[in-house]
Symmetry: C2
Subunit: 144 residues, 2 copies
DNA sequence: CGAAAATAGTTTGTATGACAAACTAAAATT
DNA sequence: AATTTTAGTTTGTCATACAAACTATTTTCG
């Protein structure tokens, strides 16, 4: 992928750079997950399951997907033994989704790889600049 | 989509924030393109074609896709009258891909919408902070 | 020059990813 | 107890992506 200064050239340097940065990080995530044949959405799924055991509904909300899309996503992840459906003890319609041991392993490995690669991409930043970038990102993420 | 502090929780605040920021911007891009039913990859395609008339090969390289994937992408975009294949005068095997007038319209409209939405997401940043964020992004994008 | 190799792009087959509408089964409401 | 709501799946359709095989040119080079 090219992170070319002139794409997409909207007229606002901030917007251009943020969009390009998004493409860059997305590429990094895909490369980090490639070893385990993880798609972008699967990486997001594993990230969410890292510290949660959500139901399908909740998962659909987190991922901003239709619930029927989540059915397929979880089916494929379950077939690969990365997650499992755990029946709810109180509601026989529902269950929660949980990482298997294999899933946890993958999360760790891929998580380390993501961290390594992103830090490498940020290697030209000083420690102070990294803190700055984190702070500025937070201001966009947790606004109001 | 939730931009929740605890996803994906890799241990590095910089990494976590950048990944979350990526999810946020991706959502913004999709929302900005929704009016015209544009997918993420189509938005990237239009961004690239904004100031280029690449061949299929070149496009595959820019998008980091297999050339056969690009065939499909361009077929669908052509069917929607957003782009056209322009035969090369010197090589009868090849052509370049160009925005149609309709494509240019869409690029303008969606580009404006993206700009509007990203600036809105950055509304808590001062002008100095915006410049900082742009500069820091550039240091990651154009390293070495 | 002419055969062989390389290049540009498409086709074919397969899998994932996404949505909407219709559906099933269980739970909650009234 | 009947009705409505909720949780999740199924079905049908289309977009996205890849790899391998293919077609048609262009290039290389003996």
């Amino acid at each position: 992928m090219q992170h070319d200064p002139s794409i997409p050239d909207t007229g606002s340097p901030l917007v251009d750079h943020l969009v390009q940065l998004t493409y860059l990080i997305q590429t990094i995530l895909l490369e980090a997950g490639a070893e385990h044949e993880l798609s972008f959405i699967q990486i997001r799924l594993l990230g969410i399951l890292r510290d949660r055991e959500p139901g399908m509904q909740e998962l659909a909300h987190h991922l901003n997907l239709d619930k029927s899309s989540v059915t397929g996503l979880i089916n494929r992840a379950e077939r690969r033994d990365m997650v499992e459906r755990v029946p709810s003890p109180t509601d026989r319609r529902s269950f929660s989704v949980r990482l298997t041991d294999k899933g946890k392993d993958i999360v760790r490995t891929v998580g380390d790889e993501i961290e390594r690669r992103i830090h490498n991409a940020a290697r030209n930043l000083t420690e102070a600049e990294r803190v700055q970038l984190t702070t500025l990102s937070a201001k966009m993420l947790y606004r109001d």
